[in-house]
Symmetry: C2
Amino acid sequence: MTQPAGARQNAVRAKAHLARRAARVLAGASSERKDAALAAMADALDAHMPDILAANAADLVNAEHGDLSSAVLDRLRLTEHRITDMANAVRELIRLPDPVGQVVRGSTLPNGLRVRQVRVPLGVVGIVYEARPNVTADAAALCLKSGNAALLRGSASAYQTNRVLVDLLSAAVASTGLPAEALLLLDAHRSTVAELLTARGLVDVVIPRGGAGLIEHVVNTASVPVIETGVGNCHVYVDEAADLPMAEAIVVNAKTSRPSVCNAAETLLVHRQIADRFIPRVVTALQAAGVAVHGDPDVVRLADDVAPARDADWATEYLSLDMAVRVVDSLPEAIEHIARWGTGHTEAIVSDSASAIAKFVAGVDAAAVMVNASTRFTDGGEFGFGAEIGISTQKLHARGPLGLPELTTTTYVVTGTGQVR
Amino acid sequence: MTQPAGARQNAVRAKAHLARRAARVLAGASSERKDAALAAMADALDAHMPDILAANAADLVNAEHGDLSSAVLDRLRLTEHRITDMANAVRELIRLPDPVGQVVRGSTLPNGLRVRQVRVPLGVVGIVYEARPNVTADAAALCLKSGNAALLRGSASAYQTNRVLVDLLSAAVASTGLPAEALLLLDAHRSTVAELLTARGLVDVVIPRGGAGLIEHVVNTASVPVIETGVGNCHVYVDEAADLPMAEAIVVNAKTSRPSVCNAAETLLVHRQIADRFIPRVVTALQAAGVAVHGDPDVVRLADDVAPARDADWATEYLSLDMAVRVVDSLPEAIEHIARWGTGHTEAIVSDSASAIAKFVAGVDAAAVMVNASTRFTDGGEFGFGAEIGISTQKLHARGPLGLPELTTTTYVVTGTGQVR
């Protein structure tokens, strides 16, 4: 990390070239061979647990000298249990179908040309992520199964852990005859992100995984295509026709079952017609689960210990045991609130009215809409897609959980017998 | 066009806001209503032919005072015949299926949640294009059928034509009860492109239609998502196992049937094993069709009147009656040449060898691969998709001809009975 900037830039481009060469081999690799590599990767994680934990301990010592929050330290920390989870997540990919070679559509044209649209890998996938070292194994395994080479740019705070993980995973890949360069770690210098994001022609897509600041930086810097992920300012709207015990259970689950993830709910919108009955009980239930409630004047009036909400509360993805609560006059007002403050991740309605449900589904613009269910279900695993590389909140290419098919593109293969136009 | 820059920027954002509001109405419009609007648009083109031709004549007078090439003037020029073609292209969309509301996949999870992935419009689609006014009607109609609002930014040279077209098309849309703001024309000042490209949160995607310079500018400027289209440095590789008369017919057709379009071939690669027999005849046939041949030293030696090719020839999308020709030692050398110089649009192989075909298909990285057929078939109409808004040469979202489904995204609608995690 003491190289001059020019040498570092060359290092990123040099690694991208190696990754491109590896990607061409991976594109032609059979499912059997890729699955064998996944098995070797999982076994290597199990076998090298002490090395991984030692590197992680070194990262944690450095991090504790810095000013990282305890939440970040927790994400950085590995345990035997977490490494076992990583290995099992890699193994689970083996049983998922290989998307490469799948025929998306096919037809024979009147002139006899046979047209097949076939799934092929994207090529070189860059991943920019923050402290969680499990992303290293997840991303490497998802890219490998889908025939892509992975260029990984983790955070400086996890560099030693990531270095050990990439070395052992890439050795495992090489042991099965596929290229070791199927996964490559970029150094954690600040400049490598920008170099990755502008490596047009060498990198096919970059997927940032992290907070709103990281995503915004990536989108504004990148000239390579980007899939935006993850920022979830998710709402639960409780309609006048809601079953109130169901609504309470959904709100408490959506907020508290895992507040630090993107599919946790951040704002509760309650129809005025039921506010008198529902606000006191839901606020009490949330507070009993440790949630600090930030409310509009109606909520402050209807319940105890509610802090007044400001615009910042409607805009914030808390990722903590905080919830903003607002009373709305109507379903259209709820939809307007979501259009103004939402991030297009997951929006939920609790209602027994078919017409209200239909209006909500048609009116909100999000990757996922939950009807009488917790926002927490927007998840590749829950949807049955297997592991995910993130949850896309953009509209192009893929929206919602990004599984294996979303890591591919297609090519049209047209076969003729000499046809001309 | 004499407003200060700040006012213009506000004008772009103000139009984007109007487009967003229109998009919300269009997203919920029935197929019947959208098809009625398309019929009204086509009828309006027929009915207002004199107005359109008068505006176009004014644009042409201005353009002839400028330094536009005769090719650009030809693209700008409308005739009664061309307007009839525009109207018929709009009518053809009526019989195509509406992609909005299509269920891409659906399942019931073990916990009883019903998951449906449903096609929904992108929202606001920006189109940046060059002189051809037919793009105005095409893009407006494709966006309308797919439930999107269109923000059109045509070239200054076609502004008066586009102004008349947008006014009459938007009045036609309004006459059927859908919002007139379903299509909006941005003024042709230079700055409006950048303002469109950075209108994050207001514009869902921008599709540039034009030459390499325009595409490169758009990709480097945009912070909104972009679908790259159109640049086609397409190759025909004639293998040692080719049927030579078939190869000759395909090469001549791919080069000469319409040299100005992106799916025309630009470079011919010939296997050394058949070069002595094939080069003289194909060069003669190309020259008889008016093509200037630029060849490597082998081609210069084997045929008459061949100009020596330089690296610029391999890199160039001529879009004219010019063709670069090179002898390669092997199929892998052909694949290497294409990897170095191609733009990922369409690559063709002529061969009777199944193994050579398989290697070529697996080895080239392009939106379309033609086997024993002309490159000219990469086309939404030829593929049976109906009209296209362009041919994507990028890997994300859509690759190849962009039809109606490619102008949509999806949303996951998850319906439960109170499920929590």
